[in-house]
Symmetry: C2
Subunit: 278 residues, 2 copies
């Protein structure tokens, strides 16, 4: 999906919500466990219930991988029921030498048909570039993450005065474009989000950490929304596990709708172009 | 596999060779393509031919992932034909927040039964610790890699005077042990290998980059061998694609044997305990 299409869809939906499909057999409603493929049945119901309130879905691949080969079949079937209008992100955090990164790109873009894949930057440029060779596909590179461990390395101060995450973002932005690369920027770090937006006025950011991890939607949006929206805010557990009863899908829809209503308001207040469309 | 078992096996085999199973449908001999599962048939023949010369196998997961769900079945079948005596490494380079890292650990250790998984450190301690909760299993954390892109971030100088990769290695070593954690250290960087060995006298290093990537086995071994060997040297393409004819397995065996013979000599020269066993 090209950037212009994504921006238009965000305007149409008045939402920049990404629903994270961190689907865990131990957390889904018990009544689904008798289904042949409980993970798929859960995802399908969640997708049907939430699609009018969000613009993207982000399966967290660890959850599928932990089920062995059949987890990947559940993932494949899940992708088939996501509407073509919606942006799909393989939350994979892959990163390896060039010939291996090419194989990962092939896996997520060609075999599974995702629009984007999250990529870990540690190994440098040749671990990222193979993901940029697919027109209309995206690398979403880890910048500053929302977890406590982000302080261990991402926040280290370099001799040059920058922090590591700032250097990562600037280096990766220097060999890619805002038409093929986004950055992960955690919602728990509002001050840094402002700095990152100043560094990269035109890029999209994928912002996890709103909800279960404690990030505040309005603060995050105020710090990062730009003329073309410029952010996808992910919520996983707070939506998909809103209820673990028979009503799990409608409960998820309510949570997603509440976020969409708030996002619609925030777009009017903080994103100028989006405002002019209303 | 506990460290003492690995060290003993290295002494028994007089080898610290790890054979990388970067198995690519486009590179395996044509006559295998008519098999029901060519990837598995190739791996099985390679494993049978090379097992007496090596101590470990390292499937590169990108190659399996790029085949869709059936690639994971090929991987599972491959693991079943690796002898229990041999150390198995999932070359996955995973790294994510704690609850997700736990799912990856479960996938590789419980579901597939690997002894070790390679882990990317960018997201910090909570992305690594879940892999340390499995007795007898290993995290192999990226330290300094062998690719050109390693200069982009791993080699950055910190305000404190260290390089990023040095800080990564020391920080990770501070919350783990040489009984559960190894580090990836690329064979193309001999001077740095010496420094890393000085920093960590007791740890095992997984050393890729000998062979196709240009690292020299004797230099690398001289810089890093310790009393309990302390290294696994990986070769992938130079062994498994030694021939793409009917004789591919015997050609792989010859390459592996040549490396084992050289390793046996290097153990005598540079690893004192190993020497005393001879």
């Amino acid at each position: 999906m090209r950037k212009s299409e994504l921006v238009q869809f965000i305007k149409d939906q008045r939402s920049y919500l990404c629903v994270g499909l961190d689907t865990d057999l131990r957390k889904i409603p018990e009544h689904l466990l008798s289904e042949e493929d409980p993970i798929f049945e859960f995802n399908k119901a969640i997708i049907e219930a939430t699609q009018e309130f969000c613009v993207a879905y982000k399966p967290n691949l660890a959850f599928y991988e932990s089920l062995g080969p059949k987890g990947w079949i559940s993932l494949q079937k899940t992708l088939e029921v996501i509407p073509k209008s919606h942006f799909t992100i393989a939350d994979a955090k892959r990163g390896d030498i060039g010939n291996t990164a090419s194989m990962y790109a092939r896996a997520f873009f060609d075999v599974y048909g995702f629009d984007a894949v999250t990529v870990a930057p540690y190994m440098g440029s040749d671990s990222i570039e193979p993901f940029l060779d697919y027109p209309g596909k995206w690398a979403i590179v880890l910048g500053l993450t929302s977890n406590a461990g982000a302080d261990d390395f991402e926040q280290l101060e370099l001799k040059s005065g920058e922090k590591l995450y700032e250097r990562v973002i600037q280096t990766v932005a220097s060999f890619s474009s805002h038409e093929d690369t986004m950055f992960v920027a955690g919602a728990t770090r509002t001050e840094e989000l402002k700095k990152i937006r100043e560094m990269l006025p035109d890029h999209f950011f994928l912002i996890p950490g709103v909800g279960a991890q404690g990030g505040n939607l309005e603060e995050v949006s105020k710090a990062t929304l730009n003329d073309s929206c410029g952010i996808l805010v992910n919520a996983s557990r707070s939506i998909i596990y809103a209820s673990n009863g028979q009503n799990f899908a409608s409960a998820a829809a309510e949570e997603a709708k509440a976020m969409q209503v708030e996002m619609s308001r925030l777009l009017k207040v903080y994103a100028s172009n989006a405002k002019s469309q209303d």
